[in-house]
Amino acid sequence: MTVVIMGNSHIGAVDRSYDRLGPDFEPRIRMFTAWNGLREADAPLSIVRNNRVEFLSKEHPKHAATAERICGKPYIDVGGPGDTWGLAVGSHTTNYGGGKWIDVEPSAICLPGLQPMSAAALRASIEYRQRYIRDFLSRLKSTGLRLFVISSPYPRSDAPGLTKKWFRPETAIHVDRESRAVLRDWLSKQGIDLIEPPPECRTSEGFLKPEFRLLTHPNGLPDYGHGNGAYGALMLQRIIAYLKTGDQNADIGPLDSGLEPS
C-alpha cells in the first residue's frame, strides 16, 4: 500500500513522530508539506495535471524542493486506485486568526455594540474560504485515490489575538467549530473520511490543552498555532488506526512505547 500524506504545516508534528517509529514500520508513508495553511483561502493550492500533483502556492519552490528530495521529482505522481492519500487542510488559524473578528461576532454569541454576523453569512464565508480546498480534494478524488483529510489541532487559547483581547475566546471557539462542521459536512457528502484531532487533547472549552502546544521553534520564533510532539504522536496514532482499519474513528492504542506523550 502506498500512502502519501501532504498538506499544511500541521503534519510537521505527525511526521516527527512517524520518523521515531523507524524504517521498518508499516505502512510506509511519504509525508511532506505542500503549502502554507494560511494560504489555503487565498489561491489554488496545487493542481492535478497529467496524473501528477503540481505545486502552486506562493512558497511552492520550497515545498516542491521538499517533494523532490522525498519523491525524486518536484511534483508527485498521483498513482492510482489502491493508493491512499491523506491531506492536512482546513487550518484553524485562517478561520479565527489575525484581525478578522475584531469588530464582528457571530450573531449567536454577539455582544451588544459589536456587529453581528448571521449564521448563514458565517457559513457562506467559511465555504468561500474553503473553495480551493474543495476543488483540490475533488480533483484528487476523481483520480480514484482513497482519500482522507487530517484535521488541524484545536484552537489555542494563547493565540495573540486572544491574549491581547482583540476578540473573545467564545468567538474563536464558535468560528472554529462552525468551520470544522462545514468541512466535515462537505467531506461526508463527498465520501472522504476525516481524522479528527484526539479528543484527549481538548479542554472543556474546546481549546488545545497547554501540554500539547508547540511553544517555540529552534530559531526562537514563538508559535501559537501548532501542536507539539506529544500531540503529533496521538494524531499519528489515529491516522495509523484509520489506515489499518478504514474506520475514521478507530482507536488501536499506542503504536509503541516510544510514542507516548512526553
Binding site: 499544511n8 504545516s9 500541521h10 503534519i11 510537521g12 508534528a13 511526521d15 516527527r16 509525508m31 511532506f32 508539506t33 502554507n36 495553511g37 494560511l38 512558497e59 520550497k62 515545498h63 524542493a65 521538499t66 528530495r69 522525498i70 487550518s91 488559524t93 486568526g97 489575525g98 484581525g99 475584531i102 455582544l111 451588544p112 455594540g113 459589536l114 495573540p160 489575538g161 491581547k164 483581547k165 482583540w166 476578540f167 508547540l214 521553534h217 529552534p218 530559531n219 520564533l221 514563538p222 508559535d223 501559537y224 498555532g225 501548532h226
Partner: protein, 118 residues
C-alpha cells in the same frame, strides 16, 4: 471601494456596486410584505447630507454618522433601553494586525521547514 478588479474606474465601479445593492434592497422591500427597508445608506451617502458623515478619507463613515443612523434606527423600532455597548479592551491598529498575521505565516513556514526542510 479603493480598488476594483472589474477593469472599470474605481469611482464608477464603486457607485455601480452600491447602486446594485440598493436596487436589490428596494426590490426585496417591494416584493415581500415582511421585508422592511431602513435607509441607513441613504442617510449617509445621499447628497442632502453633503458627505458630512464621512471621515476625512471620504470613504469610511465617522462615529458621528453611525450614531446618527443608529439613533434613527432605534427610535424607529422602539428598542427600549439602549444596549450597553461593549468596548474591546484593546483595539489593534492595522499595522499590529498585519504584523501578527505575518508572524503567524512565518511560524507556519518555520514548522514546515523544520519538519521537512533541507
Amino acid at each position: 471601494m479603493t480598488a476594483t478588479a472589474s477593469g472599470e474606474h474605481v469611482l464608477t465601479a464603486s457607485l455601480y456596486s452600491k447602486s446594485a445593492l440598493r436596487a436589490v434592497c428596494g426590490e426585496l422591500h417591494q416584493r415581500y410584505e415582511e421585508v422592511d427597508y431602513f435607509p441607513s445608506y441613504d442617510m449617509v451617502a445621499s447628497h442632502p447630507y453633503r458627505a458630512m458623515f464621512f471621515n476625512p478619507n471620504l470613504r469610511s463613515v465617522s462615529p458621528q454618522g453611525v450614531d446618527y443612523v443608529m439613533a434613527a434606527f432605534l427610535g424607529a423600532h422602539d428598542s427600549g433601553d439602549k444596549p450597553e455597548v461593549v468596548a474591546r479592551p484593546e483595539t489593534p491598529t492595522n499595522a499590529e494586525v498585519h504584523a501578527l498575521e505575518e508572524e503567524e505565516r512565518a511560524a507556519c513556514e518555520e514548522e514546515a521547514l523544520e519538519a521537512f526542510g533541507a
